[in-house]
Every structure is written in structure tokens, then in C-alpha cells.
Amino acid sequence: MSLKVDNLRITYRTLRGDVKAVDGVSFSVSDGEIMGLAGESGCGKSTLGNSLVFLEGRMRHLGGRAELDGRELPIADTRAMNEYRMRQVSLIPQYAMSALNPTRKFGKMAAELLKSRGVRFATVEEELRRRLGLVGLADNVLNLYPFELSGGMRQRATMVLSTILNPSLLIADEVTSALDVSTQRAVGEMLMEFRERGFVKSMIVITHDMSILAQIADSILVMYAGKLAEKAGSDTVVNNPLHPYTQLLLASLPEVGVRYDTSALVGIPGRPPSLLHPPAGCRFRARCPFAFEKCTEDPPFMELQPGHQVACWKAMKDAGLDIGPAVPPAAAVGEEASR
């Protein structure tokens, strides 16, 4: 068991108040697993991923814990966390193309970064060159300034640098988003290769693009409005989704070969709820065509089939579970208030 996250709650301070970006999230990632973290913008997936590495200024840890290789990650303690960063848990940020110091040569920056982490550059230099070669960057990028590299080259250099100390867990945040299709494929394959070569043990790949995850992820975790909706092996999620949100989302994706005149697609009406004051109960309720009374209650994230977890009353009912009577709305509200 590589990563174990338990009831993690992260808020994000904004002008209008605290956004409950990650609201009681529990999951685990095993050794060697590439877990895709999917969801639409604003669902909290980036906040979740980043919180495992670095809580930025506006993020607050409200509760819950994360455990990596049996040791608790002190995610709320920026200083204590330093020891784990890059060595145990590392990040390829969303802004990877601008993550390098513009006025330092890449090699020099890498050396200084490693030195400040207590690693002698000489001990990893050979490996760094080798890995750069692997992602198609020649040795001399070490002697170049970031502006001499193209955006894609910078991104790859960042990927290599982030993983040079063979972290146990890598968070890859929207690394394929701004890329063209052919590039997406190359970067996606690089990520898989990193895992295969043991540069990283396991990986969380954050993206809004389900089809990328279908290609590279072993499992997919779908988030909706700060909560977990569904987690299962990627084939299962793609072919056999249980959560209505996942189902509708997948059904709305146009694929090559699909034309409106032969098979028109439909989207999901409505928009996700505000996370400033999220509604009680299932957060997808308002957009869900299957919603029923029970959905005013918060659905638990339950394992319905081996390795397949879902937070949906309907799915539970369909699976033949006794979900109990629907709590009358008034009572639910009262309960909410009393908390």
C-alpha cells in the first residue's frame, strides 16, 4: 500500500469565504499504480493532488490524514513536509512549462536545487543526462536557459527533474491539457515509461480528459464537487460506470467516428454546485436524472464490487443493498443544523 488518504479535508480561501475544495476524501493508491484523478474544473482535483505535496498559501488543511509507505505525511506542516518532497512525493505542476527559473541554465538550476536538498549533483548527473536522453532531450539542455527551449522541452525537462530522486509517489497535474494530440500521446507514454522504469513507484495523474486516463491509468478516481464519486479500474470506469455522473460524462464525449447525424450526443444539463456552501446530500442530485428522495442524504463511498467504489444511493440500490428509508427532508435539515 503506497498511498493511503483518509477523510482528507482541504479548504481554499477566497474572497467570498472558504471553498470546501476537498471535502472528506478517502482513497488509496497501491505500489506501481497509476491512478487517474478525473473531474471537471472546480471539482477540487488539483487541490487534492497539490495538497499531498505542497499546501499553497490559500489552502488550509482542515482534517484527515495521508500516509505514504506507512509513514504519515505531515501535509499541514510545510516544514516537516519538506523532507518528503521530491524524495518521497513529487510534483509535475500544471505550469510545468514555466516552472524553471528563467535566468538560470537548466543544469545549474537542477544542481542548486539538488544541493539544497542535500544531494550532490555529481552523484545524479549521469542519471539525469540519461533520463533527459530518454525523453528526447540531448545533454546540452543542461547548458541552456529555459527560454532557449520550447515549451514542450521545458515541460519534459521539468518531468525529469521532478522525478530524478525516484519518488515513491508522483503527482502529475494536468500535464497533457495544453498539448496537441500527438504530443499528448508522447507525454502520456512517457509517464507510463517512468513507472515501468521505476523512476516513480506510483502516480496520480490529474486531468479533465477521461480518454487520456483510459489510455494510461490503471484506475480512475472520479471527483465531483469536492467529493469522490467513483473509483475503479480504468476499464471498469470506462466500460461499466456505476455513478450516473460518470455515465453521463462518458456518454457526452465525442469520439472519432461519432457524427451528430448518426449518433447525436447529449451533455449534462445544469452546473456543479458552489463549494462555498455546498448543498447537503448527494451533490450531483440537482443534475441527476435518477435522483430520488434518498439522495438528500450524503451517500457513502462504498465498495459495491471488488475494487469498485461508488458514492451513489441509486447504484447501491441497484446492487441490491438495503439503503434504508429515505430520511424526510426536514429531519435531514435538522440533522445538518444540529451538527
Binding site: 510534483l91 514555466s98 536538498r117
Partner: protein, 334 residues
Amino acid sequence: MRRYFARKIGIYIVAFWFAGTVDFLVPRLMPGDPVQSYLSNFIGANTTVTQYRAMYSAFAKAFGLNVPLWDQYWHFWDGVLHGHMGISISQSSLPVTSVIRGAAIYSLILLVPAIVLAYVLGNRIGAMAARRKVLDNTVLPIGYLFQASPYPWLALAVAFYLGAVAHWFPIGSGYAQNLLPSWTNWHFIVSVMYHWFLPFLTVFLVSFGGWAIGMRSLVIYELETDYARYLRALGASQRLVRRYAYRNAALPQLSGLAIQLGTVIGGNVVAEVVFQYPGLGHLILQAADSQDYFLLMGIFLFIIIGVLVANFVIDIAYVMIDPRTRLAMQGAQA
């Protein structure tokens, strides 16, 4: 590289031409007749009209004002480019160039150290303030207070408290009055240093606060950039992150220095006047008061040249420290 500098030098040439033309046109286009107002200094009650006319045409000729405007313009630039700036009337009829040379040294020993020191210290302290709350809470208000202070007031306050009241340093003049200026005389040099300190302090204070405040904001900004976020996410030491932030913040500060020059020179003029310090600022005001037009024009052009040279030096320094400009200009990318 060549392209970049060619462009810059082009700007400087135009700036110099502009300054020269202002210098040339102002006395000619402004209402009033400079010769006439100049002559009024010499005219007594018994000057006859004939005498006056003779004097007028003699001076007009001496000033080169008796030929068409275009020829005057031509002569003007010819003179400027050959270093013939005429003679100074108020300063014992010495050539303007040598009068300027005598005063320029005082201004330079005042300005150069003040600018450099204010820049270096201001940036250092500003960067420190960006990371230490205590320092931030003291440096910032003080910095703003210095920035808000009018130069004459700052100069007068320094002169009053450190000079007139505490008697730590002399005020007035650039050296002890009983000494003859001689840069080989040890006593004279000590005396100059002694008189130099207060005006120096004033000019230093004039710009110090601005640098500190500017650097503080820039460093804070740099600490929020993507590369700083990335370094922190990978657990880099605060020291490294700050060092990078400082280095990168220094670049805009450097180009700020070029723009600041005019302001510092203004502060310098005020300080020289308050302390009766025998530099160019003091001299140019004297020249204006005594309507010593050649001297006035000469000093103005000299100051402009100084500013342009300083700008050029800063350009070169910028290119040296910013790899992006440097490499881009070598045509690596062009």
C-alpha cells in the same frame, strides 16, 4: 546584439540632439532678448544710445546671434562637437569647458557613490524586508517617509541637525575656505571629504527608500512566480528560492536605475544648493542667476551627456546579467 545596441545608441543620439536643440532654441524663442537682458547688467545711467547700440552689436556678434537662425544652429552644433562651448562670463571669462571640468569632479564624487550605494544597500535591505516581518515593519514606513520627503526639506533637515546643531559636519562650500583647490594636497582632499559627507548623505537618502520599497515588492512578486512555487513544491531551501527571487528582481531594478537618474540629479542640484557645494548643480543655478548663457548651455549639455553615458553603461550591465537579452541578441534565436 549589434541590432540592440544600434537601436539604443540611436535613441541616445536623438536624445542628445533633442537636448541640444532645446538648449539652442530656448534662448532664441523665448520672449525677451538675452543680449538685452545681459546688457542691462552693464548699463549705467550715463550710457548713451550709441554706446548701447555698439555694445549690443558687439555682444550679439560675440554670441553669434547676428547671423540667420540656421547658420546659428549649424555653428552651435559645430561648436558642441568640437568642444567649443564659448566662455563663461560670470566665471572670470574662463572657457566653459574648463569651468565645467572644475565643477564636474565635485558632482561626480557626490553622485556616483550616492547612487551606487543607495542602489546596492536599498536593494539589499528591501530584499531582506521581503522576508523578515520585523524589518518589513520598520523599513517600509521609513522608506515611504524618505520617499515622501521633499528633497529641499531633507537637505535642510540634514544640514540643520547634523551641521548647524550637532556641528558634526560643516555646511556650506565644498572645502575649507582657507585652502586652495588642489587635488594633490592631502589637507585639501580631507577637507573635501569632510564637506562632502552631508550632501552625499542627502543624495543617498533621496533614493535609498525608493530602492528598498521597490525591491521588496519585486521580491515578493518573484516569490509568487511559477518557478518559485515549483522550487518550494520540490522542497528547495528558502535560501535558494530567495536567492533566485533576488537575482531576478534585480533586473527590473536595474532598468529602473536608468529612469531614476533624472530624479537623482534633481535631488543632487537641491542638495548642492543647500550645502553650497561647488558642483554642477550649484553652478548651473548660478549661471542661470547671472545669465551666463554659454555656461548654462554647456552645463546642460554636459549633464545630458552624463545621463546618456550612464544609461549606456546600465544597458550594457543589463545585457551582461540577463541571459535572455544577451543570448537573444547573439542571434541564437533571431
